[in-house]
């Protein structure tokens, strides 16, 4: 299991806008083993989606650019590949599913044809073979009477169906890595449960590694083996999921966990993290979370902590664990 599939080192993706530079991803490092599910957790502006787009090398340029770091995928540095070599990896060895099943399918093509496209491009299948494979993928994702639905247009399907189609499309070429960007956020609870279960099943069948981008800690608890928590373009904590939920170390993670209303418990008042996410263009000099942190001290305002290992499996970026806040 400790066979490393993806290694992101000190990744920096910045956006160069008229009024300044936005360090959307600023020195992010993590790794992912084969067959593992890693959750990347964060709020809007945390850089979680930009991280995934950087791995796919799909950062819109201009204004965005990867300005530093390494992305090692199965021994290759993705950032050194030519655009043509990258195209062979995209959709074939790494594929992605998005949040909006409505807009990520092309409305003018039949879903079967859209799934076939990747197969024709990457595996050189004939149109007819590709369609057969597409139908098989639809069956795999639990779509009833797939030989009929393959000839449907996206608008003839419901949101949950479309997300299944997206998954079928992403997994058609049996990728080693699947990046799922908020795959269930737009879906209803009962449909979310279906899709999460489907992803678990397929992952075990196909042994695909998954990077799950989400803001929903409950989804993390359900799905992931390990989690990386991001805040303002940086990783603040990395841990196996069980340890993370049992004993979060970073005050931000603690706050997030404490502020979710729970069905099982009665709470008069919810814990709340004060303040708002700062503007990435004007980040504080010290720790980005310090202005909102209940445990912050003078050191936190003055200097940025580094992501430091605290055990063989856990890393935290906080002065609390690095010799005090004052």
């Amino acid at each position: 299991m400790s066979d490393v599939l993806l290694k992101v080192e000190n990744l920096k993706t910045h956006f160069f806008l008229d009024d300044g530079v936005v360090p959307a991803v600023d020195g992010v490092s993590f790794h992912l083993n084969r067959g593992e599910t890693l959750a990347v957790v964060g709020e809007s502006g945390s850089g979680k989606s930009i991280t995934s787009l950087s791995i796919m090398r799909l950062i819109p340029n201009p204004p965005g650019r990867i300005v530093g770091g390494n992305i090692q995928f199965a021994g290759k540095n993705l950032l050194k590949l030519s655009e043509k070599e990258m195209r062979e990896i995209r959709g074939n060895r790494i594929s992605m599913i998005f949040q909006e099943p409505m807009t990520s399918l092309n409305p003018v093509y039949r879903v079967g044809d859209q799934i076939s496209e990747a197969l024709i491009n990457h595996q050189g299948l004939k149109k007819k073979e590709a369609m057969e494979k597409a139908i098989e993928m639809l069956r795999l994702t639990g779509i009833p009477s797939p030989e009929k639905r393959a000839y449907d247009f996206p608008h003839q399907m419901s949101g949950g169906m479309r997300q299944r189609v997206m998954i079928a499309m992403a997994l058609a070429c049996r990728p080693e890595l699947l990046i799922a960007d908020e795959p269930t956020t737009a879906l209803d609870v009962t449909i979310q449960a279906q899709i999460l279960e489907l992803m678990q099943e397929l992952k075990e069948q196909l042994n695909t590694a998954i990077i799950m981008i989400t803001h929903d800690l409950a989804v993390v608890a359900e799905m992931a083996d390990r989690a990386v928590v991001m805040y303002c373009g940086k990783v603040v904590e990395e841990a196996p999921v069980e340890e993370l939920f049992e004993k979060p170390l970073h005050p931000y993670t603690k706050g997030l966990l404490a502020s979710i209303p729970r069905v099982e418990e009665e709470m008069e008042k919810l814990y709340q993290i004060e303040g708002t996410v700062p503007n990435l263009m004007h980040l504080p000099r010290g720790c980005a979370f310090a202005p909102r942190c209940p445990e912050a001290g003078s050191r936190c305002l003055g200097a940025r902590p580094q992501l430091t290992p605290v055990s063989p499996t856990r890393k935290v970026s906080c002065w609390l664990v690095e010799g005090g806040v004052d």
């Binding site: 809007s44 009962t190 449960a193 279960e197 997030l256 979710i260 069905v263 709340q272």
Partner: protein, 321 residues
């Protein structure tokens, strides 16, 4: 106690236009015969999946949409018979907080103008008095007085939602309809807004109709909770009761589907088959029977009655005695 709001057999159909000259073809049965009451100072939650009609219900109550049928009593008065001008005056007592803090504030107005507008519309304050009231309202929701001069896009999502709340408070309403007030916000901001809503209720003692799809959020906020499916209310009970002993199979499935933020809890899930059917052509009998795991023969033929099976616990299901 007299209910603050009573909704009887509330129905809203949307015509689906078809053909060259826009002849009305079929209808979307968005809300179909919903009944409930809200008492002064309480919070009534409304949950359900998209397309269940919960948001439409909220808007019909405010007459932002005109209902197709049914009655809405506010303090014993049927508001559907009110002439326009009287309805406009009544709006002071019923306010709404919207889901999308980006779309619900006019981008061309300053925050001060937005919050002060209701007062101006009803001629309740002007000049320095208006300014003072606006400052006060902004302080109630945790913003500062100087924010009044700024435009909405200068604020974060959570702060905008606070502005929307301040606007709703301006007229001292007795009922506030919260339509998914936190689902567009970041996790770390959600709890701030939920706490604020609760604090304000404690201080001003108005009632909430709290509409949301997040079951945990609704549980946290509500005294009583109604569950909707395809335009109909399937279960209604006290929050604690509903979450601990759900009776309707749909409520049971819904509750079991909520992911728990604890990796050690492995819940037994009821995974429902298929998708929510189209509200244009809802299933016969009980609307849930196509996905129900307790479906009986009678379910596809006869619509179950919405009845009180335990004190204050209402449910519409043939399988529940």
């Amino acid at each position: 106690m007299q209910p603050l709001l009573e909704v009887k057999n509330l129905t809203k159909y949307f015509p689906v236009k078809k053909g060259l000259f826009g002849r009305a073809g079929s209808v979307v049965k968005a809300v179909d015969g919903v009944n409930f009451k809200i008492y002064p100072g309480e919070t009534m939650g409304l949950v359900g999946e998209s397309g269940c009609g919960k948001s439409t219900t909220g808007r019909v109550i405010l007459r932002l949409l005109e209902p197709t049928a049914g009655e809405i009593y506010f303090k014993g008065k049927n508001i559907l018979n009110l002439p326009n001008e009287e309805m406009r005056r009544l709006r002071q007592k019923m306010q709404i907080i919207f889901q999308d803090p980006y779309a619900s504030l006019n981008p061309r107005m300053t925050v001060g103008q937005i919050v002060g507008e209701p007062l101006k519309v009803f001629g309740l304050a002007s000049g320095a008095e208006l300014e003072k009231r606006v400052q006060k309202l902004l302080e109630y929701v945790g913003l500062a007085g100087y924010h009044a001069r700024r435009y909405p896009h200068e604020f974060s999502g959570g702060q905008r939602q606070r502005v929307g709340i301040a606007r709703a408070l301006a007229l001292n309403p007795e009922l506030i309809i919260c339509d998914e007030p936190v689902s567009a916000l970041d996790v770390s901001i959600q709890s701030q807004v939920l706490n604020l809503l609760k604090d304000l209720q404690r201080e001003f003692n108005f009632a909430y109709l709290f509409i949301a799809h997040g079951l945990n959020v609704v549980k946290h906020m509500s005294d009583r909770v109604g569950v909707m499916y395809l335009g109909q209310m399937v279960e209604l009970a006290d929050a604690k009761e509903l979450y601990s002993t759900p009776l309707h199979p749909y409520t049971q499935a819904l509750l079991s589907a909520v992911p728990v933020p604890d990796p050690k809890v492995k819940k037994k899930r009821i995974i429902l088959k298929g998708d929510v059917p189209s509200p244009v052509n809802p299933p016969s009998g009980c609307r849930f029977h196509t996905r129900c795991f307790k479906c009986l023969d009678i379910c596809s033929r006869q619509q179950p009655e919405f009845k009180e099976v335990k004190p204050n616990h209402w449910v519409a299901c043939h399988a529940v005695q």
